[in-house]
């Protein structure tokens, strides 16, 4: 991801997911077709849990969790994960194999281990051998950002000493056809904040982070400084036109971090590339931060990872801090003249100590995180 960001590479390709016939671009993880989950967890085998497992095995993450287990004991490590559609694709496939006489689903269909939102939670809990309390947040596209808030509160309340946060969202027909029905899928690779933006490119992805109480942080470590959560109270699938809910979430995140807007070096926007999201998010960002603070969306590179957008963009924010890189917007050709925020088309190399990351979802669910380097 580090290199992809530096090279401003986009992973979006024409949609060839399963039997979908939709004129759009998507971000796929092709390795999932042939992957199987660990033999002792075969009941949980579905695209979403394969994606979760594949991700847990990257960058030595599972090993780091095992080391934390030795340090804290498994019962003191919680798990706060997010997904929007979990293993829904397994149900889509099962509905094609219903008994023609009775309508029953095939005998090998496993509801709890695939379809249910908690399937991801129990799979990750077992995969990593965790024994602390946890659950799955499913608040559409803000899910894995909000999971950071859950974990921080649980640690503050002494419920656990460390937590695995993050989650996975994999491609399925429902999101592809559903977003198409709403007229929100892009025809080419999505172009956030572009004057000619025409919708989202749906992607699949996963990300995980192991977080521990901040009082043990070494100098230079990245800290979760603030979390802000709000509701639009406006519409199920359209953001508030003035970005009211978004503004409340950002203000609360700053407040809980004890920071002023000028303390933020870079904003990783939700920036889905729909007409309405980008316009209302710009209004909210401009109102708080004015025309200077550099900001961009990385969805032109990754696509919209839906429930996994929050964790993925938190990781982008951490990389921005570690590498001193504010990523430019992949696929965006020219910024919509109506946009007033300082939107980055090109990568910018600069010292980054504090980043704000936005995630907004259906149902008007908003979450902003502030991440920053320990002094």
């Amino acid at each position: 991801m580090r290199r992809a960001l530096r090279e401003k590479r986009s992973g979006l390709t024409p949609c060839d997911f399963e039997t979908a016939s939709i004129d759009t671009y998507v971000g796929t993880v092709p390795v999932l077709d042939d992957l199987r989950v660990r033999p002792d967890l075969l009941d949980y085998d579905c695209r979403n849990n394969r994606l979760a497992q594949w991700c847990l095995e990257q960058d030595g993450f599972a090993g780091r969790v095992a080391a934390a287990r030795d340090r804290h004991s498994a019962g003191r490590i919680g798990f706060y994960l997010g997904t929007s559609t979990s293993g829904l694709h397994a149900t889509e496939l099962a509905y094609r194999r219903r008994d023609p006489k009775t309508g029953a689903l095939p005998a090998d269909y496993r509801y709890a281990e695939t379809q249910n939102a908690y399937s991801l939670g129990e799979f990750v809990r077992r995969y990593l051998g965790l024994a602390g309390p946890g659950f799955v947040v499913s608040s559409a596209c803000s899910s894995t950002a909000k999971a950071f808030g859950n974990a921080a509160r649980m640690m503050a309340a002494g419920i656990c000493d460390a937590a695995v946060v993050g989650g996975a969202d994999s491609l399925c027909l429902m999101t592809l056809y559903g977003f198409q029905a709403l007229g929100l899928t892009s025809h080419g690779p999505c172009r956030p904040f572009d004057a000619e933006r025409d919708g989202i490119s749906i992607g699949e992805g996963a990300g995980f982070a192991l977080i521990e109480k901040g009082d043990r942080a070494r100098s230079g470590a990245v800290l979760l400084l603030g979390v802000g959560e709000s509701s639009d109270a406006y519409h199920m699938s359209t953001p508030h036109p003035e970005g009211l809910g978004a503004r409340i979430a950002m203000q609360q995140a700053l407040e809980s971090a004890g920071l002023r807007p000028a303390d933020i070096d870079y904003i990783n926007l939700h920036g889905t590339a729909t007409k309405t999201n980008d316009a209302s998010e710009d209004k909210a960002v401009f109102e708080i931060f004015g025309p200077e603070t550099p900001c961009s969306s990385t969805k032109g590179a990754t696509g919209h990872l839906l429930g996994a957008a929050g964790i993925t963009e938190a990781i982008v924010s951490i990389l921005a801090i570690e590498d001193g890189l504010m990523p430019g917007s992949a696929n965006t050709r020219s910024v919509d003249p109506a946009i007033r925020s300082n939107y980055l088309l090109e990568n910018r190399q600069a010292k980054v100590t504090r980043v704000l990351s936005n995630s907004f979802g259906f149902g008007g669910s908003n979450c902003s995180l502030v991440l920053g380097v320990a002094q």
């Binding site: 889509e92 659950f135 056809y177 149902g363 669910s365």
Partner: protein, 264 residues
């Protein structure tokens, strides 16, 4: 974690609102099982009301009742929604459409399919712009939500409503995930007694496999075992009977929740 219980909402088979159901749970009146009467919540404008799926109606109804009983403005409180199985009817229609040749899916059904549909409609209905989350822990969804709500009350020092709801799936999903009946319960939890709370919960997560507290009435016990949201019943019974003591709730494998109920 100590929280003050300000208001309760309840809907279940033979448990028609907290006002009536508390007498049943207190043993003052016999339990007469009857289909859950969800009715129409007047919280939403007519246009939105028509579009809301049944699980959302359930959640809104108990949430509204709990805030009324608490005498608190719903617009000023954060919410934690928990459902063990989400939006079953919507899921069924979407999967049927996607298994057909035409694959024509309704955009309204699509946005109603998200696990946080109830939270979204709640915000529209109450004008609450406060934080709201939507959780799932399968059969352990209620205790998961109680831990989250209590943590929020303690860490933010503000009132939080926990709204747990489960609506049975239509076939063929019902056979794969049987839920015994429609059931929803809501609790308005506060950080102090300034609003005249009647009871407090001291919530603790415990390792082990202690036997969870059951219901003395065998038919209510069937509900507790047959619907994840009804795992709230022993707590509601303690509130109705104004008893003090410990209630143990099933959480995840080798994890329990111990809730010490005290009178204010």
């Amino acid at each position: 974690m100590r929280v003050f219980v300000e208001g309760v909402g309840l809907l279940g088979p033979g448990l028609q609102g907290w006002g009536a159901a508390r007498r049943v749970l207190a043993g003052e009146e016999p339990f007469r099982p009857a289909p859950t009467n969800i009715g129409g919540s007047d919280l939403l404008p007519a246009a939105e009301r028509r579009r809301t799926p049944v699980p959302v109606k359930l959640a809104l109804a108990v949430g509204q009742e709990a805030f009324q009983n608490a005498g608190r403005d719903a617009a000023a409180a954060a919410t934690v929604f928990v459902s063990s199985s989400g939006e079953g009817e919507t899921l069924h229609h979407m999967c049927e459409a996607l298994a057909s040749v035409e694959r024509e899916v309704s955009p309204t059904r699509f946005h109603n399919s998200v696990h946080n549909a109830a939270a979204g409609y709640w915000g529209i209905a109450t004008r609450s712009r406060e934080a709201s989350t939507s959780l799932c822990a399968y059969d352990a969804s209620f205790p998961a939500g109680l831990v989250e709500a209590a943590t929020q009350v303690v860490s933010c020092g503000k009132a939080v409503a926990l709204i747990a709801y489960d609506q049975p799936y239509p076939e063929p999903l019902h056979s794969a995930r049987p839920l015994a009946a429609s059931f929803a319960a809501a609790l308005v939890l506060a950080p102090d007694a300034t609003r005249g709370a009647a009871a407090t919960f001291e919530v603790a997560v415990l390792p082990g496999d202690e036997k969870p507290t059951g219901m003395s009435d065998s038919r209510l016990e069937e509900l507790r075992l047959g619907i994840p949201a009804a795992r709230s019943l022993p707590l509601l019974e303690a509130l109705a009977r104004k008893t003090q003591g410990e209630v143990v709730l099933d959480f995840l494998t080798e994890l329990r929740l111990r809730v010490t109920v005290s009178r204010c």
